[in-house]
Each structure stands twice: as structure tokens, then as C-alpha cells.
């Protein structure tokens, strides 16, 4: 396969082969990282970091999994490790003070930009479980293994995250239909 050939050349330090591998997988890597970390600037840095690490460790890639899968795991690990480190640095939940979404379209199909804005506003701990499960399609088992927690914790975090998402997506100008009395809690 052509990709195998590119990998062999990249292992030998061939820059153009590396560039081609990048072109093939750039979207998937960037997307996974971007969804997890919640902002463009950080995603750009970490996506680059993931690629640099991938090339540094390419020697270790023996082809047990598809290259794309290997790379995807590495990239999500780079993002998750960053979240872990930054959450230790400050216990203040990012996103707590961010402005609320001003207008949400509670249409049959959820407006995409509103959805993405809401994901980005989630506290990092909620965001990573929501993104891994609902966006990236990981199982609770997989998430638990990666975050070193129990599947039960992963589940309860997910439900809390979704509840928070729903709150963030609540239209400000709520119609009668939307008068669920959340304020009373």
C-alpha cells in the first residue's frame, strides 16, 4: 500500500513523505485535538506537537494497527495530557465565567455553531468525556481506560456534561414551550 511506503520513507527521515502523511491525516488529528481542548489557539499548538511526537516516535510504529489509528490515539493522548496538566495547575473551572450563548436555535436540527460554542464553554472535565463519547464515539470502557477512572464515573460525568450542554444551549428568549423551571433549583 502506498501509505506503508510513505511510512518507511518517513522513518528514514524523508521530509516529503512526512508531508504527505500529514496531508492524509491532518484533518482527523486537528479535529480530535480541537474538539477536546475547546479553543483554536491551543488546538493549533497541540496538533503540531502531536505531529512532531508522531514523527519522533515513528520508529515505534510497527503496523499492528492502522497508521491513522495509531496517530489518532497519540494525538488524543497529547490533548488529554494537556487537559490533565492544566487542570492541576488551576482548579478554577475554565468556562465558568464565560458569557452565555446569546441566541440558540431550538430547531429540529440543532444549529451547529451553537453546538460547537456550547462544547467549548464546558468545563474541561465535562468536555473531554462528552467529546470522547458523543462526538468521537468511544465507549465508556475505552474512556475509563484512557482517563484512569471507572466506567461508572465516565457515565455520570457524561450525564452531567450533557445536562450542562443543554443549559448552555437554552435559548435566552425562552418561549412558553421552554418554561421548564430550572431556576427553581
Amino acid at each position: 500500500m502506498e501509505e506503508d511506503n510513505l511510512i518507511t520513507r518517513a522513518k528514514a527521515g524523508d521530509r516529503s513523505a512526512m508531508g504527505e502523511l500529514h496531508e492524509l491525516h491532518a484533518r482527523r488529528v486537528y479535529t480530535a485535538v480541537r474538539r477536546l481542548v475547546g479553543n483554536d489557539q491551543l488546538a493549533e499548538d497541540l496538533s503540531q506537537e502531536a505531529w512532531v511526537r508522531a514523527f519522533e516516535k515513528l520508529e515505534l510504529f510497527r503496523g499492528e494497527a492502522a497508521f491513522g489509528t495509531w496517530l489518532y490515539r497519540l494525538a488524543t493522548n497529547v490533548a488529554l495530557n494537556h487537559l490533565r496538566r492544566s487542570s492541576k495547575r488551576s482548579s478554577v473551572e475554565a468556562g465558568a465565567n464565560l458569557p452565555r450563548i446569546t441566541k440558540a436555535q431550538d430547531d429540529v436540527i440543532v444549529a451547529r455553531h451553537v453546538l460547537i460554542q456550547a462544547i467549548d464553554q464546558l468545563p474541561p472535565g465535562y468536555r473531554r468525556v462528552l467529546v470522547l463519547h458523543d462526538v468521537e464515539g468511544w465507549t465508556h470502557q475505552e474512556i475509563a481506560r484512557s482517563l484512569s477512572c471507572s466506567p461508572g464515573t465516565s457515565k455520570s460525568q457524561l450525564h452531567k456534561a450533557r445536562a450542562r450542554m443543554r443549559e448552555l444551549m437554552q435559548p435566552v428568549s425562552s418561549s412558553n414551550d421552554d418554561m421548564r423551571d430550572k431556576a427553581s433549583l
Binding site: 491525516h25 511526537r53 516516535k57 453546538l115 484512557s146 445536562a163 421548564r180 427553581s184
Partner: protein, 276 residues
Amino acid sequence: MMTCAIKRVCRNFGERYRQMNQSASEHLTAEQISELLDEPRKDKEDWLHLETCEECRAEFERFSRIRMALSALPDLDPPADEWTAIEAKLDSKEPRINQSVLGFGWHAGRSRLIFGSRQLAVTVAVFVFAVGVFAGLQLPGPIGFFAENTLQPGLTAPVVQDKIALNEPTELESQRAPIQQAGTSAFEGAEFEPVRRYEGRSGLLVLRVTPRTAAAKLGLRSGDVVVDAGNLPTRQVPDLIQAINASQGSPFSVRWIRDGREMVKLWPSGEIRPKE
């Protein structure tokens, strides 16, 4: 008189507060609704409430739509100059790279060699650990052996199966097109988008249905996820066309998920019914 008025206000407030609390405790919480989304009949009482309470049902549907939209988020383009930036970083790291690659290559090779023999593995692991510490000390900066090691993909990362192939997003984009093939019927007038692993299955999310078209007659609504047509899984738009072709004009079943329930309908005739 003054105190009387205050008392009345207080009483009124207390009354209202009680009412508010009561109605809040009767309804399902957001988290309960989210649980039902993943495990529909997990809690019979909650599910029963959902079936009878219009408000909670509407809320459940909102959750369901959010869930579906999440699973259908498209991939993003990195900045156009990403590769240039990566190359620059590779250039600046060159001397360090060789050193670390040596260390890891050795480590990985060793652990693979001893795979299968536990006793030996422990012994060698201790040795590898010691070498690791040594290598870590050798590396400049805070990113030593340990930081790197936690990132080793094979160790901690989950297995993500049936992940959409990596260069597919563009293909997905192109699929987001209405089906307008003449005479295909059944799905004509609907716009689809592939979703991954929605409730454990892949399918085609219905984005829009034009009224009075075949798709509308079939009973599709936006927000539905078509999972199967003619007993063939529908993961991509061409699967629908294939199902129609395979039917050769005879009736075939279409299966979709609506708000966590599976619906089946026979095309061109037959009732919509949730599957039990």
C-alpha cells in the same frame, strides 16, 4: 397592618416556593433524561414518566437532537500553514530527537521481546525502568522519559473501531446532498448525513424532508437516523440507492431511530410502528 402585609407576602412566597419545588421534583432531571437516552428502559419508572409527561418528553427530544448533532459534527481543517510550523519544530528539535528515539526504540523492542514470559518481564521491566530513569535524566527540559512514556500510544489508548477512515470527511461532505435520482422514490426529497455510532450504530441522519415527496410519504422526519434499508445497513448515502436497486421494485423495509426508538416501515406500503 404593615406586618400583616408582610406576612401575606411571605405566605404567598412560601406557597409559590413549595409549588415550584413540587413541580421540579415531579419532572425528570436533566441527568435522568440523559441516562434514558443511552439506556432507554433502564429505569422503568423514569421511562413511564417520560411516556406520560409531555414536558419531559419534549426535553428528551431536545437531548436526543443534541446527541445526534454531536455525533454528526464534521471534521475541521487545520490552519493552512500547519505543515510549515511542524517542519520548523522538527528542524529545531533535530539533535534531541536522535537521543530520545534511541532510548524509546530500545525500550519498546525489549518489552516486545519479553512479551509472554511474566517472570522475566518483571525482571526486565525493572531494568528498563532503571534505564528509563537514566534516559530521563539525560534529556534536557521537563519532557523526560516519563512524560513521553505516558503518551506511548499502545499502552493507554482505547481501541477506536469503525472510526471513519481518515481521508473520508471530504467524501462525507459530498454526500450531504439531497437524493434526487429520478424514480428512486422512498428517499426522494430527503437530505442525509452519515453519523457514526449513534446509539451504537452508524446510520444516516435526516437533515431535511421536503413536504409531499416520497421521503415524507415514507414517514421520515428531520432528526431521524436511518439505520437499515432492505435489511442492509445504511452507513452512506449510496447504501440507500443500493437498497432500492436490490429490491428490484418489490417492497422493502426501512428502519430508523427516532428519539431512541426504532421504527420500521415497509415501502411502498405499511404502517409506521415502533419496534418493541
